[in-house]
Symmetry: C2
Subunit: 331 residues, 2 copies
């Protein structure tokens, strides 16, 4: 057995009851990894509960058709965690990604395992850390775990892991998409996954609001620094008029990112009065995770986010010039 899994194998064999959790605003890699691992542990006749700190998105519900993933409830934290031998924390390595679950997990007596592909973990988050930043998705690690432990990848597991990997690789197009990823996906398809079906469930089934909101948001596009920085924004009155929510803006930023010459694309969203969420995407040499971190945010080299206290105008006036000067220093 590969070294990184031997310790986990022991834990999985000895413990009886597991909690499988992931991060706030769970994406398909979070949900798919949770479902994939939980379904596997169940085949070992373990007691398994799945919990997330905030609700799973609409487009992931098909991975949990019986609604077994429970939303964390502060008032029942003791009952939940008291009965658990091992808490397996997936697709995150820092306490703040656990939201309100963080203190409960910290205080519980449960043995904490983290399985993740992100960088810069918090030192004290895990009793056992299985971390591989080269993995394109946490779903890749769950697949390898199941195989290393001699398990079978059933169709529900395969669907969950396919959704995880497909989304974290941007539908197999990001730079993290390696041979290892494609070979695993080939196995998942042999296990019964229909790529067109999963694609449609994850990316399509959009609401009409997605389409109605486009004109107002794209009327705000601007660019600077010889077209290297491009941005746009959405405010709450646009949403209201279009009958849309911020969930409906998924994928909008790809349009400006895809323009020739754009090195950094930004999308400013007024999520509340005086609160702005900024999404950042990099095409070129700019590490947007580092830039975002300098303003209290985080993420990956090419896709990051940050929160800003203030108006949209203030956020734009603060963030855009910062990137412009970063781009000047790069060239």
């Amino acid at each position: 057995m590969s070294d990184i899994w031997s310790e986990f194998a022991k834990t999985a064999e000895e413990a009886r009851s597991f909690l499988v959790v992931s991060h706030v605003n769970p994406d398909p890699d979070a949900v798919g990894s949770v479902v994939g691992l939980a379904r596997y542990l169940e085949t070992l006749s373990k007691s398994v509960r799945m919990v997330t700190p905030t609700p799973i998105p609409e487009n992931c519900r098909f991975l949990d058709p019986e609604g077994e993933i429970v939303l964390f409830d502060q008032t029942r934290a003791d009952a939940l965690l008291g009965a658990v031998d091992v808490a397996i924390i997936l697709d995150l390595s820092s306490w703040n990604q656990l939201g309100e679950m963080a203190p409960a997990l910290k205080d519980s007596g449960a043995y904490r395992v983290v399985i993740d592909h992100h960088t810069d973990p918090d030192d004290d988050i895990a009793d056992l850390m299985v971390r591989d930043p080269a993995a394109s998705a946490t779903g890749v690690l769950i697949y390898e775990l199941i195989r290393e432990l001699g398990g079978r990848v059933t169709q529900p597991i395969a669907n969950a892991l396919f959704a995880a990997i497909m989304t974290d690789t941007g539908s197999f197009r990001f730079s993290n998409t390696d041979g290892r990823t494609f070979r695993i996906v080939a196995d998942l398809i042999d296990a019964g996954v229909r790529p067109d079906d999963i694609y449609r469930r994850i990316y399509e089934g959009k609401r009409w609001g997605t389409v109605k909101l486009l004109p107002a948001v794209f009327a705000t596009v601007e660019r600077s620094a010889n077209g290297k920085v491009a941005w746009m924004h959405a405010n709450r009155s646009m949403l209201k008029q279009a009958g849309a929510s911020f969930e409906d803006t998924d994928g909008y930023i790809d349009h400006i990112r895809a323009v020739k010459g754009v090195e950094v694309a930004l999308f400013f969203k007024e999520v509340d009065e005086g609160r702005v969420r900024v999404s950042l995407r990099s095409q070129g040499g700019v590490d947007v995770a580092r830039f975002a971190a300098s303003m209290g945010g985080g993420g990956h080299t090419r896709a990051a986010g940050l929160a800003f206290e203030g108006t949209l105008e203030e956020a734009i006036a603060k963030v855009v010039p910062g990137l412009e000067s970063l781009l000047r220093s790069h060239s």
Copy 2:
């Protein structure tokens, strides 16, 4: 050696000079397959020429950096074909897909090999036919050919075949994307392909006009038949104001197609005074190729097009009700 390649192997060994061709309006599967096979034949010290009946698209030029793919020239057909032992015809099985090259190839003394994944071939097109409709792309067949013949997949070959396979599978999301496809792609990545790079070259590098045009076009969205039909239009004044061309609207229709409940999406484009092009996409049971054919158009079951003589308003007034009644008869 697998049976389907043994005859080809003999041909490849014996012949000295090859012409590698593909279809009119060559897409990345055509161009990538031509380049991949030609580069391989060159490693066998064969004389190879690459020809297409119409120019290769802008986004495929990086696969042919030296501009070695030649546009077919009727006046030089004899010189071109006289020196050729074998013409290898890729990604097509019917004469009309060869455009103006068809008669020249028919009349020449060259031995004709067709390698393709389409159905319904013309009987007399090939002296040797290697056809596998289960292959997700012709690029898959070229990969298997090279491997069966003991060749090496170099990085230029891998890039060409990756572009071929990525596009013919809709970036690995169509129903034809099987385990065989993903395993081959894994090998191509091991040979040096960078998926993010190829994706960007094929699908991105869009113009700013793509973004500037969005608001005007999406302000026209409408739907009917309980949301089963959705459509929008673009006229020439919108293009002018946005500094855009119809090429910039590639992919627009996917936004309305992706909305839950939409079975047929339509995009009406005023390509000229009194001339409208209509793009049709189907999600459900409607065969838009058949519908388009009833109005002089054509295409595939789920993606078709037709031309209309008249104004945008007339086109919409004619086409939309036709689909509405088709959908009523379906339900």
